[in-house]
Symmetry: C2
Subunit: 158 residues, 2 copies
């Protein structure tokens, strides 16, 4: 149940991009600062760009920059772009639901596995979809509404 290096590097890159929010930095700067293999990093930055999180400018003085306010980008969004759905099994994913092919419970009203794994997916999404880049670099999950059934930012999808 691991996240890939891709997600890890991507998140580390976003730490750097968030620190420099407002002006572009080069892949080289990011790679050096965060110790990420530069050509692999490029792929990752491209994915994040295509997902609409980054903008890039070419040429001298070029580089990548974050185009959304750090508090509006959640770690959940980033990880879904780079690693796919958060859900531990397909039949509990909200972004990429896949019905179980030959699960004997598929046609019944209740599946034990689905029940537990649904809980796991929600626990993961509750954290990652409520944790922004701003929280990330400051190290605090800032003033989110408390848990315990209070209204909270919707645990978007998984």
């Amino acid at each position: 149940m691991r996240f890939s290096k891709k997600s890890e590097y991507g998140l580390r890159a976003l730490i750097e991009l968030t620190k420099h929010y407002g002006h572009p930095i080069t892949r080289q700067q990011i790679a050096e600062e965060q110790h990420v293999p530069i050509v692999f990093l490029e792929q990752i930055l491209l994915s994040l760009k295509h997902a609409g999180l980054l903008a890039s400018t070419r040429g001298i003085q070029g580089g990548y920059q974050l185009i959304k306010p750090p508090k509006d980008v959640t770690l959940g969004q980033v990880i879904r772009v780079l690693d796919g759905p958060l859900a531990p099994i397909g039949c509990v994913s909200k972004t990429a639901y896949r019905k179980c092919e030959d699960c004997p419970y598929a046609k019944k009203s209740y599946c034990p596995l689905q029940h537990v794994m649904g809980g796991v997916r929600n626990a993961i999404a509750d954290i990652l979809d409520n944790y922004s880049l701003e929280d990330f670099i400051s190290g605090t999950r800032s003033n989110r509404p408390a848990r315990l059934g209070a209204v909270r930012r919707k645990s978007e999808r998984a």
Copy 2:
């Protein structure tokens, strides 16, 4: 962030084994009941046996059986046997800790990634290490101590 088929099949097999707790059933019965490829299933049952969860008897009338009371086996244990640690990155695992090789935060006192991922690992382990096979087949997390800081079964490891 998926669990493998191995874990999924293993858990489905354990549903069957829990239902028949007390006497052996054959891989064939399990395979048919749960629609799991039989030869692959065998590997899985062997792993669970080596982990001390199952016993097997050979020959006619043989089969596999659960040797621990269903309420003493947690889903977390099972998944760790079949899929490895629950932790999403090595440096937050309690069962299989691996220090980050070249993370620039490795030598500092605080790592943002470690902070968030530690939370994720605990959320997952809190569920899976407190959910027994008994709960699993009954579909209810029975009378576990409530959340909210109350004493609860230790979230063992990940």
